[in-house]
């Protein structure tokens, strides 16, 4: 079967520094796979490369067979890739509703003239957008917050809002960057359920970066491990847990930390 997302020997340098080295990925449709690795291993860089924030020094990226290597972020999004961020990036003074509505921006059927003269397309398009956004807010139990500025929401709700916002772009592939960051064990439990539910409800492919071992081991069907920009292991959770290189990358690093 044709992969949804394909990374073909992607390498990326920052200045002279190699951040990602020869990264390959064939992500089949409908899966929930994960990418783990110690801090600074290059995980977020992979997401930035996929979404067009960076352009890889070498290699190609394909989404549904289309070469998206040099696409700008907004074009990548319009093709069907959405993402969340490691450090929440919501629009703080916009309302929760507007945070979601903005994600429907590139599908709006009116332009500047339509907005100015309040054309028929403007009203139908806005109504449709608002209804859809309200529905998403409801699904994520945020409808009470629709008219509150996002910055007034508690952390857990912001995490949900960010995911809802990503889904509002109608993605086929969802990239989650450390969704469990800053959550307590109970919240992590809920999050794991939610990710599985999202995948099934929205019929998505999900690719997940996580620092939190429990999340990755618990829900990801297949896991890749990175260290210093290199892929050091790949397999299901039990393969990964027993891989000496993985143990070295995590525990070795911890030992150094203890010393330093």
């Amino acid at each position: 079967m044709q992969p949804v997302l394909k990374l073909d020997s992607v390498t990326h340098y920052f200045g002279g520094l190699k951040a990602v080295s020869n990264f390959n990925l064939d992500l089949p449709e409908g899966v929930l796979w994960g990418l783990i690795g110690p801090n600074g291993a290059g995980k977020t860089t992979i997401f930035n490369l996929i979404t067009g924030v960076y352009i890889p020094t070498q290699g190609k990226i394909y989404f549904l067979s289309e070469d998206i290597t040099r696409y700008k972020p907004h074009t990548v999004v319009s093709r069907g890739i959405a993402r969340t961020f490691q450090n929440l990036r919501i629009f703080p003074t916009l309302t929760a509703l507007d945070n979601i509505r903005i994600a429907g921006h590139f599908r709006m059927k009116y332009g500047i003239l339509g907005a100015t003269i309040r054309s028929k397309d403007f009203y139908t398009s806005e109504k449709e957008l608002t209804e859809k956004a309200m529905h998403l807010l409801e699904l994520f139990k945020l409808h009470d917050r629709a008219y509150s500025p996002a910055k007034s929401l508690p952390y857990g709700e912001l995490r949900r809002l960010e995911i809802a916002r990503a889904l509002a772009t109608d993605p086929k592939l969802l990239l989650l960057d450390e969704p469990a960051a800053g959550m307590n064990p109970k919240e992590v439990e809920n999050l794991m359920e939610m990710i599985l539910w999202i995948r099934d409800h929205f019929k998505l492919t999900v690719y997940l970066i996580e620092h939190h071992m429990k999340v990755v081991m618990g829900i990801c069907e297949r896991i890749k491990v990175m260290d210093f920009g290199e892929t050091i292991a790949e397999g299901n959770s039990s393969d990964i847990q027993n891989d000496p290189k993985v143990i070295e990358a995590y525990l070795g690093r911890q030992k150094n930390h203890a010393k330093g």
Binding site: F14, G15, T44, N48, V53, F85
Partner: protein
């Protein structure tokens, strides 16, 4: 020698460049640490010029021979004091607010200094002739004329730049300044008080701008309360050209702008007035990090 590109122009360029350099250093130092374009910086220069003017007039009124060194020290102290106060009163409370707030405040401080000066009956809005602090002497070198004012101007500027370079490179506080423009957290861990370093940076920058005010007063002997706006802008362009945050870059940029303007004016006044802005736009489009600056990327 004749024509546009002659030795006289070189002398004038160096002299103009040295004034820009003294102002540009303050911009670059402050920007390096607090990431603020201090719009009021040109006004520290203006105040330096006025204090020099009043000191000189006072000494002349007592029939004394004005002492350039004393005037210089008074100008520098004034620049330093006003810079320090602006930071404490207007910029420091906004340190952790959005950067634009501080920028707008800086515009406010600038307007305040310009118009308050202008509203003072003893300063007033119109131009004043700067008095002769010493007897003018001319030296003829080839076809060019060099005045003792130009020599004093460049000598003072170069001395101050050498002293500044020494402070930044070799003293404890200078090292802390450099460190804080790179990594504020590390500085805190080392137990250095960041706000003290920022105060010190403003003081240094303000005193150099004050000195530049005196130098401008003696070489272009007409001063008014708005005299800081355009040189301030040009000096900022010099700082951007050299790579903002980089002191050597600011000096380099200032001399480049000095040369470009002097030779531009020799062609015609539109080129002379406009060339610095053209340089700014070209630099920001093609070399936004400046000649000696480092490239930076945003973290996502």
């Amino acid at each position: 020698m004749s024509g546009i590109f002659n030795f006289q122009q070189v002398i004038n360029s160096i002299q103009l460049g040295s004034i820009y350099a003294l102002i540009a250093i303050g911009y670059t130092l402050v920007y390096g640490i607090v990431k603020l374009v201090n719009f009021a910086h040109g006004d520290f220069y203006m105040l330096g010029a006025y204090v020099a003017y009043f000191t000189a007039m006072f000494e002349i009124s007592r029939k004394d021979q004005p002492n350039v060194i004393i005037i210089l020290l008074i100008s520098m102290s004034t620049g330093a004091l006003v810079a320090f106060l602006s930071n404490r009163i207007a910029y420091r409370p906004l340190r952790y607010k959005p950067r634009l707030s501080a920028l707008i405040t800086a515009i406010g401080v600038s307007l305040f200094l310009e118009y308050t000066s202008s509203a003072m009956p003893f300063i007033g809005p119109s131009f004043r002739p700067f008095p002769d602090v010493i007897q003018t002497k001319q030296f003829h070198i080839g076809g060019a004329v060099l005045t003792n004012y130009q020599i004093i101007n460049v000598a003072i500027a170069v001395t101050l730049m050498v002293v500044l370079t020494y402070i930044i490179k070799y003293t404890r506080v200078g090292m802390a300044m450099r460190a804080s423009s790179q990594d504020k957290d590390a500085l805190k861990l080392m137990g250095v008080n960041l706000e003290k370093i920022i105060d010190f940076t403003f003081i240094i920058g303000g005193s150099l701008a004050g000195a530049a005010g005196l130098l401008a007063g003696i070489t272009y002997p007409r001063i008014n309360p708005y005299m800081g706006i355009i040189p301030g802008l040009k000096a900022f362009i010099a700082a951007v050209l050299g790579g903002i945050g980089n002191v050597t870059g600011a000096m380099l940029g200032a001399f480049i702008i000095g040369f470009a303007e002097t030779f531009g004016y020799a062609i015609n006044s539109v080129i002379g007035e406009g060339i610095a802005y053209a340089i700014l736009i070209i630099v920001l489009i093609f070399l936004p990090q400046g000649l000696l600056g480092k490239k930076t990327g945003e973290k996502v």
